[in-house]
């Protein structure tokens, strides 16, 4: 059964088209990796799926768990089982991380896991700090993953979880992602699905994914084995890679 189905999706921001005719089917248990050069629309795609009001859908549909959610508010999508880790979340003064975690845990039915997951991600000392205020790049990523783990979504979106993370912490992040996407379980038992945006591909050393997709100038141009795609990208660059893919079509 499809978890997520994007049908001819077209998105614009401030009147400028940034995604065109995007089609994507993601099934239970599948993890996709989204590649693409800067500005190709990777983050915009996740923003559109989660329902950021700045991203206006001018064409197509978003179907989640069989329901049309194209125009549903973000919190409804989240209550239906979506979750996202942002690349650069805003800092919110006076709002404590723990308060947001408690909210996530309540929705995710993980109220008894706050301490355990905070420890796993090394965030115990941040619980009573203001949300993202004064967090380093790596701390922001771990805080995002912690919130997601407690939210416990069926469909997980991760926007560059590996960027700005030092070697010491990338294994921790990899472990958290594997838990989130149930990659630590045998394939037939996995129920969760997700999309991971990676610019460098580092995270693929820690998380195995099923499919890779290249987004190029707002369109999906390649799809295939994520490890092969990454090899092609590093060998031929995005442009070369795209040309090869288009020839194959």
């Amino acid at each position: 059964m499809d978890v997520l189905r994007l049908v001819n999706l077209g998105v614009e921001v401030d009147g400028k088209k940034i995604l065109e005719n995007v089609n994507l089917y993601i099934q239970k248990g599948q993890t996709f990796v989204l590649f693409g050069p800067n500005g190709s629309g990777k983050s915009s795609l996740l923003m559109s799926i989660i329902g950021n009001p700045k991203y206006k859908i001018y064409d197509g549909r978003i179907i989640f768990k069989g329901q049309d959610i194209t125009y549903a508010p973000t919190d409804e999508r989240v209550k239906m089982g979506m979750g996202i880790a942002f690349q650069n979340p805003p800092k919110i003064g006076g709002v404590k991380l723990i308060d947001v975690l408690k909210h996530c845990a309540k929705l995710g039915g993980t109220e008894d896991k706050i301490e355990e997951f905070a420890k796993l991600l090394g965030m115990e000392d941040f619980l009573h700090r203001d949300l993202n205020v004064g967090f380093s790049g790596g701390e922001v990523k771990r805080s995002e993953l912690l919130q997601l783990m407690l939210l416990n979504p069926d469909f997980v979106m991760l926007d560059e979880p590996d960027s700005g993370v030092d070697l010491e912490n990338i294994a921790i992040i990899g472990e958290a992602i594997n838990k989130l996407l149930e990659r630590d379980k045998p394939a037939e038992e996995r129920r969760k699905a997700g999309i991971i945006i990676t610019h460098t591909g580092h995270i693929l050393n820690y998380v195995d994914a099923d499919y890779g997709v290249i987004l190029y100038k707002g369109k999906i141009v390649c799809m295939g084995n994520p490890f092969d795609l990454l090899k092609d990208i590093s060998e031929f660059g995005y442009e070369g890679c795209v040309k090869r893919c288009l020839r194959r079509f």
Binding site: N52, K54, P73, D75, V78, I84, G94, H103, C104, L107
Partner: protein, 357 residues
């Protein structure tokens, strides 16, 4: 007057009338002292008139920290009532003393209060000022605070007026050597006009911290701020305010004066405009000599859309997200405030949250 309304109004400003939770209690109804109670040694609490009869020396404290300078102070000079609260030397009055001023029928409630924290003492006071929901009138409150050597006074004032009330407190604080004065001011309910400018005069190594959380609803004018005069070496002051306009007009003032070298002051005023309203931030720093450390930051804005969206992506509704952000905005880490007072402030914020959405 139905006792229930009184009780409800008192509770909204943190007045409990519970001997277990308070070390002393004072209630002024219009111009009359309704009750005075003391549950602890080392503490004195009585009507100001009685204190002036009892202690000759108290004359010297009258109009020393606050000067008679405008029509409002002159009116209080002619006729007043109020409280006298004193922590005896080295007494530690940890459980808060509560003082409440309630305006119901009079046109003008004229108050003169004196608080003295004697040498080495520590005292926490929660002062709630409120009015009958239908009351119309003016509250003029002169308050003089004297913090002696090595003493610490924490004064938390919660205001809960009704829409037709004008409020003009006139407060002055003198903090002696190594003394600490911590003031917290909370106004989260409608009022017609609030105009106040408590001023602290700081001696050697003395500290003053003023924190204010203020909301101006439609048709309200809130002109408030704090001034700190750093008079002697080693003194320091911090003035922090969070103001929210929901249709009303706010003037958020702050003024730190460095009269001598080796003093430190910081001013921080942040404003948030919900929907519509007006905020004017006036931070002033004044140095009269070199080698001082004065700074300020001021910012006025609205709730950022990306912050609302971020919290919605954690499953909060738009209203929940907005309330969470407003609440965060009003959250000030007040150093050295006892948990009982912090609870009262949190309670007032909670009550206001619904009105702000």
């Amino acid at each position: 007057m139905p006792e229930e309304i009184l009780k409800e109004r008192l509770e909204s400003v943190g007045i409990e009338m519970d001997p277990k939770k308070r070390s002393g209690s004072f209630l002024l109804l219009d111009q009359d002292v309704k009750s005075v109670a003391k549950f602890m040694e080392g503490l004195e609490i009585m009507p100001i008139k009685r204190a002036l009869e009892k202690y000759d020396w108290l004359e010297d404290y009258l109009w020393k920290a606050v000067k008679v300078k405008d029509e409002f102070t002159r009116e209080v000079e002619e006729d007043f009532n109020g409280y006298f609260i004193r922590a005896l030397p080295n007494a530690k009055v940890e459980i808060p003393v509560e003082a409440c001023l309630y305006l119901s029928k009079v046109k003008k409630q004229k108050v003169h209060n004196i608080v003295i924290a004697e040498e080495g003492s520590e005292i926490n006071i929660i002062s709630g000022c409120t009015s009958h929901p239908k009351a119309m009138g003016m509250h003029i409150g002169v308050s003089e605070f004297y913090v002696k050597k090595n003493a610490k006074l924490t004064f938390t004032m919660i205001h809960s007026w009704s829409e037709d009330i004008e409020v003009r407190p006139r407060s002055g604080v003198i903090v002696e050597e190594n003394g600490t004065y911590i003031s917290n001011y909370v106004l989260l309910t409608p009022a017609k006009l609030v105009q106040m400018y408590p001023t602290a005069y700081l001696k050697r190594n003395a500290t003053a911290v003023f924190s204010s959380i203020v909301v101006a609803f439609k048709n309200a004018t809130i002109d408030m701020g704090n001034k700190a005069v750093l008079m002697e070496k080693g003194s320091s002051a911090e003035i922090i305010s969070r103001t929210i306009s929901k249709g009303g007009r706010v003037i958020a003032r702050g003024h730190i004066v460095a009269e001598v070298p080796e003093v430190k002051g910081h001013l921080e005023c942040r404003g948030l405009i919900l929907d519509e309203g007006e905020i004017l931030a006036v931070p002033e720093l004044e140095a009269k000599c070199p080698n001082v450390d004065l700074s300020h930051e001021a910012a006025i804005g609205k709730i950022a859309e990306d912050e609302i969206f971020y919290l919605m992506s954690r499953g909060m509704t738009q209203d929940e997200a907005t309330a969470t952000i407003i609440r965060g905005f009003m959250e000030i880490d007040i150093k050295g405030i006892p948990p009982a007072l912090k609870r009262e402030i949190d309670k007032a914020i909670e009550l206001a949250e619904r009105e702000l959405l």
